[in-house]
């Protein structure tokens, strides 16, 4: 009898276990079903760029609905001034939100989630797909912006412009604060959600899965963020999130190298003062822009796109998912054509009343040819001011690197703030990033050898701890190599599809450490770390304000020495000034930025914020001759048209 019962129990339990696991696998297949979208770059690329999943899931969508209620302490900055949670951190508003009458719920997320948010179902880090939906950042969260007119109106979102309102680091701290809250539970989120959206129903199984996954997400993220405080410190909260003394990056900037040193090297990034403005990403085509990033460190556009997602926190696992790989590649292709085959509205189309006079523009071009085109190339003047001619990539120093720090030429070089390129570990970064993604077996073998060499080199350089570091990196590499046996789908350098002449051997010349020559011509190394900035074209210059890599110069007039560059100014939601071509950035009063919407004090005296250098033409704005002034005014007029 007992035997019979035991048998029955065993068989029933077996069946349950099999049904549960096979059922789960079946559901997984359903949740992760995906087929590549069809269409041209303009369309597919735009979707990838603005709505595509990149493994940057911030939190579950249901939580996004109720975050302002259940986590208001974590998100409140005290300078809301009537703005929504999203707007306070600088995300672009959803144009459909104002007309929305119903409550904001999961089902109508596309009508209220800020522009540039993706709705995905990838669990952060592990990239498992379930029925639990997440809100995630896309390229557009950072790389789409709006122009704020003096009357308070906003332009349509401009794809490819940097979001100069976005306080992405403050937002990350707010999220960390929120999920580390011991009072936050899955039940609390779901209860609050049910109150806001009582009419929404989730299927039985999906509902159960969702609840389990939500709890799992919360405990997982809390554990990892809690565990990471040794590396990241406690998040800032309240007004600290808007204060330069606490979060020095401020609006429109990030600390990409602080992050990438952490994720690729597992080293602390706190002593990193490389503040990068979120750049515009127009005309990324390699003919015009063979190398990107402010220091020209990256070649291939797909790698540019991958590094962006990786530095922002996407896991290698997420970045290997077919859908995400597609998005990375499609977004890269989009940026290659954006501004070329995919039109970007020029200045005159945004500010018809401020369109410069043709004669000024013409004179400005000659000034530009004399003082600027050697480094930047130029754009011929278009007959129709609402269109642009293709950029002409010709110039003596175009695409070359301008050294700063020890590499600077004797005449002083570019002279801009050097923190972006001289930070600690910069020179170890290329190999660390390259070996993050194991290549195909042949390339992986070379990656392993180069890691071995790094260990030996470190010993030879009498830096045993560095040798230890590379040994650890190698262990990590060997593990990932086992996980991506045929190579990670985004490894680089890789042969382009259809390129018959490309071989694995030829690729390896382009892999780090492959170049010690800052101006090797052409610079073929896929990833470099020179103490230099790259001379690149500057298409759509009016959308690049505030200028320079650290955003330290609010207007073009100031950059070209027509006006004096301010030492201190207030940043946040600044109004665009079409005359001076840049942002109206008011000075602080008694050292304080009192306008809650421009609460960030940008002090160019702070390490990493320097606004010196790029002194072209090298004229003194306080002592301009009439001729110089007229030249600069004409130059400004021309710069409005490129």
């Amino acid at each position: 009898m007992i035997r019979k019962v035991v048998n029955i129990i065993a068989i029933v339990v077996s069946c349950l276990a099999l049904v549960a696991s096979l059922g789960w696998l079946w559901l997984e297949g359903r949740w992760s079903a995906w087929s590549p979208p069809q269409g041209d770059v303009a369309e597919v690329g735009y979707d990838a760029f603005t709505k595509g999943a990149f493994g940057l899931e911030a939190f579950p969508l249901k939580y996004a609905v109720v975050a302002g209620r259940v986590s208001s302490a974590a998100f409140t900055t005290t300078v809301e001034d009537g703005r929504s949670l999203w707007e306070t951190y600088g995300f672009l508003p959803n144009s459909k939100a104002a007309a929305l009458k119903e409550p904001l719920c999961e089902s109508n997320a596309d009508q209220w989630l800020p522009y540039g948010f993706a709705v995905t179902n990838y669990v952060p880090m592990t990239a498992v797909q379930t029925s639990l939906k997440f809100a995630g950042l896309t390229c557009s969260s950072c790389h789409s912006g709006q122009l704020r007119h003096a009357d308070g109106t906003l332009s349509q979102p401009i794809s490819g412009m940097g979001n100069m309102d976005l306080d992405v680091i403050a937002f990350t701290d707010a999220v960390r604060n929120a999920v580390m809250d011991p009072d936050l539970t899955a039940d609390k989120i779901l209860d609050a959600y049910a109150k806001v959206c009582p009419d929404e129903s989730t299927g039985l199984i999906d509902g159960i899965v969702e609840k389990i996954m939500l709890g799992g997400w919360l405990s997982g993220v809390r554990e990892s963020m809690g565990g990471d405080t040794a590396k990241y410190g406690l998040p800032y909260h309240g007004i600290q999130m808007k204060q330069a003394s606490d979060i020095p990056a401020g609006p429109g900037r990030t600390r990409p190298f602080c992050s990438i040193v952490r994720v690729a090297m597992d080293l602390p990034g706190d002593d990193n003062y490389a503040y990068s403005k979120i750049p515009v990403v127009f005309e990324q085509n390699q003919d015009l822009r063979p190398r990107a990033q402010f220091d020209g460190s990256l070649g291939d556009p797909v790698t540019r796109s991958f590094i962006a997602a990786y530095a922002s926190g996407a896991s290698i696992k997420a970045l290997s998912k077919p859908e995400i790989v597609h998005n990375i590649k499609a977004a890269a292709a989009y940026t290659e054509q954006l501004g070329i085959a995919i039109p970007v509205k020029p200045f005159a189309a945004h500010f018809p009343d401020h369109a410069p006079a043709a004669a000024d523009v013409e004179r400005g071009l000659t000034v530009f040819q004399e003082h600027c085109a050697d480094c930047h190339g130029h754009r011929p003047i278009a007959s129709d001011p609402t269109k642009v001619e293709p950029w002409v990539a010709e110039g003596k120093y175009l695409h070359k690197m301008e050294g700063v720090g020890p590499l600077a030429p004797a005449d002083g070089g570019l002279g801009v703030d050097a923190e972006r390129v001289t930070f600690r570990y910069a020179h170890d970064l290329p190999l660390a990033i390259w070996t993050t993604l194991p290549g195909n077996p042949k390339i992986a073998a070379v990656q392993e050898k180069r890691l071995d060499k790094a260990i030996i080199d470190a010993q030879d350089a009498k830096a045993p701890a560095l040798a230890y570091f590379w040994q650890k990196q190698k262990e990590k590499f060997l593990l990932t190599k086992r996980q991506y046996r045929l190579g990670h789908p985004l490894y680089f350098p890789a042969c382009k599809e259809g390129d018959e002449t490309c071989t694995d051997e030829s690729l390896l010349d382009r892999a780090p450490p492959c170049s010690l020559d800052v101006n090797a011509d052409p610079q073929t190394c896929e990833i470099t770390a020179f103490e230099a900035f790259v001379n690149n074209p500057i298409p759509y210059a009016f959308l690049r304000a505030p200028y320079l890599h650290n955003g330290s110069v609010p207007t073009m007039a100031q950059l070209i020495n027509l006006e004096k560059r301010p030492d201190q100014f207030c940043r946040g939601q600044n109004v665009y000034d079409p005359e001076m071509l840049g942002y109206t950035a008011p000075p602080p009063v008694d050292g304080k930025c009192t306008d809650p919407r421009q609460a960030f004090l940008f002090d160019t005296g702070v390490r990493g914020n320097g606004n010196g250098g790029h002194n072209y033409p090298a004229w003194d704005p306080d002592a301009l001759t009439d001729q110089q002034r007229a030249d600069l005014q004409a130059l400004l007029a021309y710069l409005k048209t490129i």
Binding site: S14, W24, G216, L486
Partner: protein, 200 residues
């Protein structure tokens, strides 16, 4: 010598099926679902299926060593032997499909012929062996060539697991399970030897 084909099959008891199925299902569920907590779900599952197969084959090896050429094999042996194969087939599907894009040649390219070949050979030969054990009347009392075949298969299967788990020992789990399996095999031989001594 009696005609072996006329000997009655070894007695079948329902718990043999229930317990071996339970072991299989729990290991399968663990491998599938626990993977959700791991950083790389496919990688974990592929490995966990292999570990599970090693665990399932261990009782079969034990019984085989204790009984081979001395007493008829039992349903325990046949069931665990079969479930272990199913599990290794699942492992292969995951490894080949999800980690090698369904391109077996890449396994050869990556691992080299002498590592890749036995893995595929094992899969095929073991399946033949199982097919015979479920179709031949003399599976429990093999004679002649079939007997040597069974002996060879047991050695071949164990050797494969031993090399993969103890020699290559890609992770601690593999090594621990591999050593456990080896210990069980050695124990089985010792017991078998002891039994022989006593019966002499």
């Amino acid at each position: 010598m009696a005609d072996l084909n006329t000997l009655p099959p070894p007695p079948f008891r329902r718990e043999q099926f229930a317990i071996s199925l339970l072991a299989f299902s729990l290991l399968f569920a663990f491998s599938t679902l626990f993977g959700l907590t791991q950083p790389d779900i496919t990688f974990f599952r592929t490995h966990a299926f292999a570990w599970s197969s090693a665990l399932l084959v261990t009782p079969a090896l034990y019984i085989f060593i204790r009984r081979y050429d001395m007493a008829p094999l039992t349903h325990w042996w046949r069931l665990f032997w079969t479930f272990a194969w199913v599990m290794i087939a699942v492992h292969l599907i995951w490894g080949l499909g999800l980690e090698h894009d369904w391109r077996p040649l890449t396994v050869f390219e990556r691992q080299g012929f002498w590592i890749a070949f036995p893995i595929f050979l094992l899969q095929g030969l073991w399946l033949i062996d199982i097919a015979m054990s479920w179709t031949r009347f003399d599976w429990a009392w093999p004679t002649g060539v079939y007997k040597y075949w069974q002996g060879f298969m047991a050695v071949f299967v164990f050797a494969n697991f031993f090399v993969a788990m103890v020699i290559f020992r890609n992770d601690t789990e593999s090594l621990v399970i591999g050593l456990l399996q080896t210990a069980v095999v050695i124990a089985a031989f010792l017991l078998r030897w002891n039994e022989r001594e006593q019966s002499l």
